[in-house]
Symmetry: C2
Subunit: 345 residues, 2 copies
């Protein structure tokens, strides 16, 4: 007789509970899952005993039987980018609330790594995927439902912040303060997000206002900030508002202006995007516009789970949502106080 001995979990299983109580595993299963096929009394007794024994259901067994792993995958281009942690947190929160686990994968900005990461997650049996694609990547249907979170301009997007509207809100704010010349500062002319934001700013300018756009190079990590952006000069040219397309560049602009003796906000305004963690902390604190990560995550997860529920988890479809652009919220702080051109040297 050929016998085999797969490893046993040390914890109790349904069978242990069943024999110890003199009932069948089916009944224990039904009692614990609360499907109501078991008498009130017996169910109570079983639950009690299970708790006593410290029973933990085996996800592996359940997954094998039901075909549902209870896990989704989250693919990010770079967790270390300060934009993504908040999103990851919101996704994890929304997924947990729906009873799902979250497997993460960092594609490290590389397209090949991204593909590989997606495959690894699928091998691990995720029921669906939330992907924040690497810039300019088009996610072709994977082997499971996929919710894409990207800028609104990308086709196949499930949900995104409304970057255009965010830019508009910034411009509107600057207009109200009486600014006339706005310098838009970005670092990546090829980025959809930055272009949407810049376009939004321009669309919010009013008659009599003008803007120019400065694309600065991203500094190498260890490169230091030796090279000046020449913003003090821009102030002398008549620019009173600096609308950076991300808080990081706003911070760079702000510290450079301060170093060069331009007082913010009395002599010039600086605004950012994203409301990163330090935005309220710096002096003066930064006026910015924030994505509603909570809502974005909520929409992505609920659309994804909806699709999984209706079409199964093995069909490679791009999830859609009714609301695919979530408004950004203007956060007014001190750095964009009233412009006062008289104080400009």
């Amino acid at each position: 007789m050929s016998e085999t001995m797969p490893p046993t979990r040390p914890g109790p299983n349904l069978s242990r509970i069943a024999t110890s109580l003199g009932v069948s595993v089916a009944t224990v299963s039904n009692a614990l899952s609360g499907k109501g096929r078991v008498s009130e009394q017996l169910a109570e007794r079983i639950k009690e005993h299970a708790a006593e024994l410290g029973y933990v259901p085996s996800q592996a067994g359940r997954a094998l039987r039901t075909g549902r792993s209870g896990v989704i995958g989250l693919v990010l281009p770079d967790i270390a980018n300060p934009l993504f942690p908040k999103l990851a947190q919101a996704i994890e929160f929304a997924a947990s609330a729906a009873g799902y686990g979250v497997l993460i994968a960092d594609s490290r900005g590389d397209v090949a790594t991204q593909t590989e990461a997606i495959n690894r997650l699928i091998e691990r049996g995720v029921e669906g995927l939330v992907i924040v694609p690497r810039r300019a990547t088009r996610i072709s249907a994977a082997a499971c439902p996929v919710a894409v979170i990207d800028t609104g301009s990308t086709p196949g997007n499930t949900v995104a912040a409304d970057h255009m509207q965010g830019g508009w809100a910034i411009a509107n704010h600057l207009a109200e303060l009486g600014h006339r010349r706005v310098l838009i500062i970005g670092n990546n002319p090829g980025s959809n997000v930055q272009n949407d934001r810049a376009g939004g700013v321009r669309s919010g300018l009013r008659p009599g206002m003008s803007s120019a756009t400065l694309w600065i190079e991203t500094l190498e990590r260890q490169g230091g900030s030796g090279c000046s952006l020449g913003l003090a000069e821009k102030v002398r040219e008549g620019y009173t508002a600096f609308a950076a397309l991300s808080d990081l560049q706003a911070l760079r602009a702000l510290t450079e202006l301060q170093r060069d003796g331009i007082d913010v906000p009395s002599m010039a305004s600086v605004t950012g995007f994203d409301d990163l963690i330090w935005s309220p902390v710096i002096t003066p604190s930064l006026t910015t516009v924030a994505m509603d990560m909570h809502t974005i995550a909520e929409i992505a997860i609920s659309s994804l789970l909806q699709t999984i529920k209706t079409r199964g988890s093995r069909e490679g479809v791009l999830v859609t949502s009714e609301t695919d652009r979530v408004p950004m919220q203007l956060i007014v702080r001190q750095s964009s106080g009233p412009a006062d051109p008289t104080r400009i040297s």
Copy 2:
């Protein structure tokens, strides 16, 4: 006859490959896992066919049989805290390299949530856990091996950055520059990490140098930075060096000094901790000290997997490591240039 129909995966399984090739599933399994019990030729043929069919092994089936899920859990107190994304990235990288998936859980700074998160991960069948504990939490043995990453002062720690040594490096650097009065700036006198860092700074002072410590209150997120730290006054009192216990506070100090007309680094030096993303970008860029997240993650993961391998994944032990304190690396940038007291008003 009672028949049942568990859902079938749409993809091919071992059995499909086996029948399609006229061999047994055992042989297919052996061929694909490369255990060498199959003839070279046949193995090749099987692998080819499997690839053609796009075979993806079922983790659920494998996990159920072997008792190994191939997944570990990562519990963080707050992913949105700028300190953790880099660590999460490094952990994910190290785990992937070892063939493991990473389930994340954010305890949102709450002890109850942390416990709950740990339980959820265990229910999901993780083989081990990497926990960055919420401040002052003692991780009592869970139901699986646990690697704790925390400050070195905590017992039961697997690996940590050597915060004391980092502080020492900062003080040493300031001493070399000729500073005599150092103001240490922290925001949490109850934090082990901050105390280690502050202690390190003090331990690195040389004869003739002195320090004081300023504990500032953490600002409410939306509170703005209305309240000044009064650092300009400190400069007048003779402090020339400001050693913040995190980059966030260094940034606050730097922007306040600049606003108040104190030029950094010519009139005062500012240093930080952690080398957050914006540290090289600000003007002047920030001298700081960085944790070696890569090494920390490497040690945590390899110790954890070692423990899993030798003691199994169902015993709740705290993992230990030989090297439990990883040195921090000083990164000198412009904000800590030479002190020049003559220019102080």
